[in-house]
Symmetry: C2
Subunit: 678 residues, 2 copies
């Protein structure tokens, strides 16, 4: 069996599993009429949003495809209609996987709520199945698309990088648009509902609540999926692009990443089965068991694959081979787990950090915000050390190729890790539906229990997404440098070179500017939603008393339009800036630029994700009855803290991941052009 | 006249001017008994703090001196007792200048308040004279110390870099300690006074008010002075260290920076006179006139100096000379002004950005905080572009030497820019004294007018401090690389090298960790002050009614102890980490580490400074009667925003400046050691 066959088979296996999982979800009870109604509203909102988003992005996609094709018509340096097709397939794959995940997610939510009426375990099963649909469809469809492109264009890296760029472009818009949507709706709902009117979360009188639930699906499911799909295909492509620079196509250096990816899917499916079959009581343990099972299988499998392929190759004057690639893969895999654990430590209310943070809320909102930001900053330490360590280890054992392999190692069991991450929003939605459908309190208490676990897995997932983005970007930057060196014969990147330093500085600034765009977009949009909700409370008579219904579609509509309008500028910006730098300052500055963006982007990503999660969980900790509990001054301060953290953790942070990847992959695709500039 | 004579003469001229300025201040009226009493309390608090701070730092200084001396005893690579002596002189000079500035500042405050009873112009004169004492004593004493060290050790760069390290070490402790003190006191005072008790700022019933005023002096005067003194001497030393690598001592490349520094002092004194003599009505215009006069004189002077010296030299294969060095100096000077203007634009209530921010406070504290942070992030764009531009221009015209010259160009007129910056805290104090001594409202209105200008100049000053720190650090990193190359013969810093990348990542993380340490220290300490002020309001009978006095010394004492305890760990940390990286990962990683810290440090510095200033001024704008004015919901939200911004702009941001410089200068001093590691 060749490597490409293995990859194809694994992709199909994954998609078949997704089919059966979806079927099993759709067969479940949907619950009572009200639940179905709420769920329908969420489905419609999410569908409308995604459709509009894809339409807008479609224009950008077409423009870029035309550009590639025209370019190929005038210049013969490898960028042409084939790149355009690859690119198109990349966008399609990402859109498809995102849509599918959202489709199932918005249908699993009421079913999870219904299952929660019968117990914790059934609710976990439905919601986790939905998560697994996301996880396995992302890796399955992502790998399938890659196989198609790879076979179509015979593995020519100049063409297949277009595939990564397509996935990346769509991911950026999905993450930024979805992120703005979800947080503007969430903040808008909270600011009027919890802070001004004093009504609980997910109260149907609040017009923004449906929008908030829609946001969970388009942001946390479709957005996260697109993000990781991108990292996943990029880590495969980076391995191949670097591998090919040493060797001819079809050799073992190209086979290895394909076998690893294929085996990773198998390991992930086994992990998913583990969660579904083993009757572990605690949901957290059950999910952990799935991840660790897959990780263990993956370690054994990659050891055997490396052993079996018996690769040896040279880079510069050094020889690599033996178990070298295995150590590189292992270092990546471990780094992924470490970053996840660190995120959990800094953001879970189980540990003293969040408890202390909650305690400090007693001094008021300013102090809790400062402390929350400070926790986020502090949380960068271990992920940076872990990534740096993996970098040094993987390079030591397998050179530049090893660095790309480490990224792949980290992402190899994405199927299971993503399944675990994306079960959270489903339970969150289920809780909302339980509230809105006025189910019995014990149902809500079951979904709350699952939701608490979901918050932790979400924090871990975010850490994992950032870590893998950094590693994937590193792989892409390396591939960019290798590509330019191969064309120019020599490509000197000296840290003393002011062009490189200027690039580093400008690149380092970009994630700050980008963050600022997104954060202020959320603030602006949430302001509009606040006004709408306030208006409804004022103008709709009997709303507060529960005699009239809130007009939820208006809020969904405002959030949809606002999010889509506000994602365009940062999106275009991310595409244009690296191209501009490449053309004006040249490839040396561009290399520095990408590295600078990676450095600050990685820090900001972890900082915002963990600061936001810590603030969120500090609020939850107080709500559990500590430091005065709900409606105490400490709680009010913590709610403000949470609201500050919201756009940081769910809009800014996740979008930065993609920013650094997208800018790197665009540079890689255009590397043949930049290499020919003087 | 040789260059070193010119420098000596200019330094003495500066110190003589300082003497006469101080005399003129001390001759002014001190005001009534109550004013004298308050001023005394501030003087004592500041004195006690500085004395304790210097005592603690003294221990660190002695340990480092012993280490250098012992090292010289065992190894003969140029680091020895001479380095120790240079280092000691550096610390002494910084301590002396800081103490002098604080001494005059705490005596000018009541005199400014007294002068404000007679009008705006007299108040401006006293406070600006005090600012000029700071400005001119920093450059005068800084340059004098340098001349002494230079003559003592015959310009050997291995020894004179110790001087910069000494100044840097003291600056770090002064900035971090002073910054923690001032903001913990300020936040503590505000949280209880303004938020809980609803009493005005600077109300004497608030026990933390004196501590707050003490903080202005130890943080904003002594701290800022030490910060810029460091940048100033480092930019001179970087020029000389790089210049010497091309040439023998005493040549024109070494003369040029000395002449520029000397002439810069003359230009600054002329600018100071301009402010004092020309009777311009608007204080802002008067100050601007001073700065622009000095800048114009400096441009002409440096043109003539470069023309007259007629330097030509080669670096690598390129020849430089003619007016090249002049363009490098000019690019630095302009960059300094640009960064200042950008800071003003993003943080002054005159412009729409802050007005919009104030408007958004109507939606509540969370939104105003998010928007404030977002403004800070956005404000990084132009400073980065300006610095990158100056870097490329100065390198184009004069190579690596040009980059160091640009830093010096920026700092050449430090005498006047620092005078303008450090007049602010004096007026701020004067306003506080006017309030506490219950002077007539029009006195307070005059000091408020001057204080508003002071806020703007402070923001500009902070921008300038960060910009110059980045440039100075860049000069030091370059000198570090040049030194290692000279010793090793070859020092390859390739961006592809994982050791370099790991260094970049770890370095990039350090400013985040450091910021987190300082921010949480402020939060913790302000919590303690809050409790103390609350306790006094509860336990001291008649305090609220004004019948009993608050115990201000308790708060000063808590702030002093807390600040000193909390500055030790980050201080030691900044010293130890680069040494650790150098020894474990080697010089390649260390170079990456320094550059990574520079990149994120620069961004975080600008981000925190401008976010904090914008939030502060948005609050002021609302207090001026917009969006509901004082005590409106918008105002309450803005006060929370301001309190979040406080530790960012006055503790975190300024300390990062020094962090990146200190780590760079330590690496430069120890470069001969690292170069000999394998």
């Amino acid at each position: 069996m060749t490597a490409i066959h293995a990859a194809l088979l694994a992709a199909i296996l994954s998609i078949v599993t997704v089919f059966f999982l979806s079927l099993s979800i759709m067969r479940k009870q949907q619950g009572n009429e009200l639940m179905v109604k709420v769920s329908k509203a969420i489905q419609e909102g999410a569908q409308i949003f995604l459709r509009r988003e894809y339409t807008i992005v479609g224009f950008v996609v077409i423009v870029i495809m035309i550009a590639f094709t025209l370019f190929g018509y005038f210049f013969d340096i490898g960028i042409n209609w084939k790149t355009a097709i690859s690119f198109f397939i990349g966008t399609t794959v990402s859109a498809l996987a995102g849509y599918l995940a959202m489709w199932v997610g918005t249908r699993a939510n009421s079913r999870t709520a219904a299952a929660a009426m019968t117990g914790l375990r059934p609710a976990l099963e439905v919601s986790f199945s939905s998560g697994a649909v996301t996880g396995l469809s992302i890796v399955g469809i992502g790998l399938l698309g890659f196989v198609i492109v790879y076979v179509l264009f015979k593995g020519n890296p100049l063409n297949i990088t277009g595939y990564a760029m397509g996935a990346s472009l769509l991911a950026l818009f999905a993450r930024a648009g979805g992120g703005i949507f979800t947080k503007a709706a969430d903040m808008g709902a909270d600011l009027v509902g919890k802070v001004e009117q004093g009504i609980p979360e997910d109260d149907p009188r609040n017009a923004a609540v449906i929008a908030d639930n829609v946001g969970d699906n388009v942001g946390d499911i479709a957005g996260l999926g697109a993000d990781l799909l991108e990292s996943y295909v990029e880590s495969i492509i980076a391995c191949i692009a670097i591998g090919i620079s040493f060797t001819f196509i079809g050799s073992k250096l190209v086979d290895l990443p394909l076998f690893i990816a294929a085996f990773g899917i198998v390991a992930s499916i086994l992990g998913v089965l583990m969660v579904k079959i083993l009757p572990v009581k605690s949901p957290q343990n059950s999910l952990n068991l799935g991840v660790y099972t897959s990780a263990a299988i993956m370690i054994i499998g990659s050891f055997l694959i490396v052993k079996f392929l018996n690769i040896s190759f040279s880079e510069g004057s050094r020889m690599y081979g033996g178990l070298g690639p295995f150590w590189a893969i292992l270092s990546g895999l471990i780094t992924g787990l470490v970053i996840g654990l660190v995120s959990e430590f800094f953001s879970s209310e189980k540990f003293w950090i969040v408890k202390k943070l909650a305690e400090s809320a007693q001094t008021g909102p300013a102090i809790v915000v400062v402390n929350g930001l400070s926790i986020g900053m502090q949380s960068t330490v271990f992920p940076v050390l872990a990534i740096s360590g993996a970098l040094l280890v993987s390079f030591y054992f397998s050179g530049m190729y090893g660095v790309a392999l480490a990224a792949l190692g980290m992402l190899s069991i994405l199927g299971i890790t993503l399944s675990v991450d994306s079960y959270g929003p489903v339970v969150d939605n289920a809780g909302g539906i339980a509230e809105m459908a006025k189910l019995e309190p014990q149902v809500r208490s079951i979904t709350d229990k699952l939701d608490a676990v979901g918050n932790t897995t979400a924090a871990i997932g975010k850490g994992f997404a950032i870590g893998s983005a950094a590693f994937a970007a590193l792989g892409l930057i390396t591939a960019f440098i290798v590509t330019i060196s191969n064309i120019k014969g020599e490509f000197i990147l000296n840290l003393e070179d002011p062009k490189l330093i200027a690039g580093l500085l400008i690149g380092g600034m970009i994630p700050f500017l980008f963050s600022s765009m997104l954060a202020s977009a959320v603030a602006k949009l949430s302001f509009r939603i606040v006004n709408e909700v306030r208006r409804q409370f004022k103008e709709i008579k009997g709303l507060m008393e529960g005699k009239a219904e809130a007009d939820a579609t208006r809020c969904v509509d405002i959030a949809t339009k606002g999010a889509i309008n506000n994602m365009i500028v940062p999106g275009i910006f991310a595409i244009v800036v690296p191209v501009l730098i490449g053309f004006t300052l040249g490839p040396v500055s561009l290399a520095g630029f990408l590295m600078g963006a990676l450095i600050t982007g990685f820090m900001l990503g972890i900082y915002t994700a963990n600061a936001g999660a810590a603030l969120d969980n500090a609020k939850k900790y107080i709500e559990d009855g500590h430091f005065g509990g709900k409606n105490s001054p400490a709680h009010k301060a913590a709610v403000i803290g949470d609201t500050v953290g919201d756009p940081l953790k769910d809009t800014v942070g996740p979008s930065i991941n993609i920013l650094i990847k997208l800018m790197s992959v665009i540079s890689l695709v255009l590397a043949p052009v930049f290499a020919r500039l003087n």
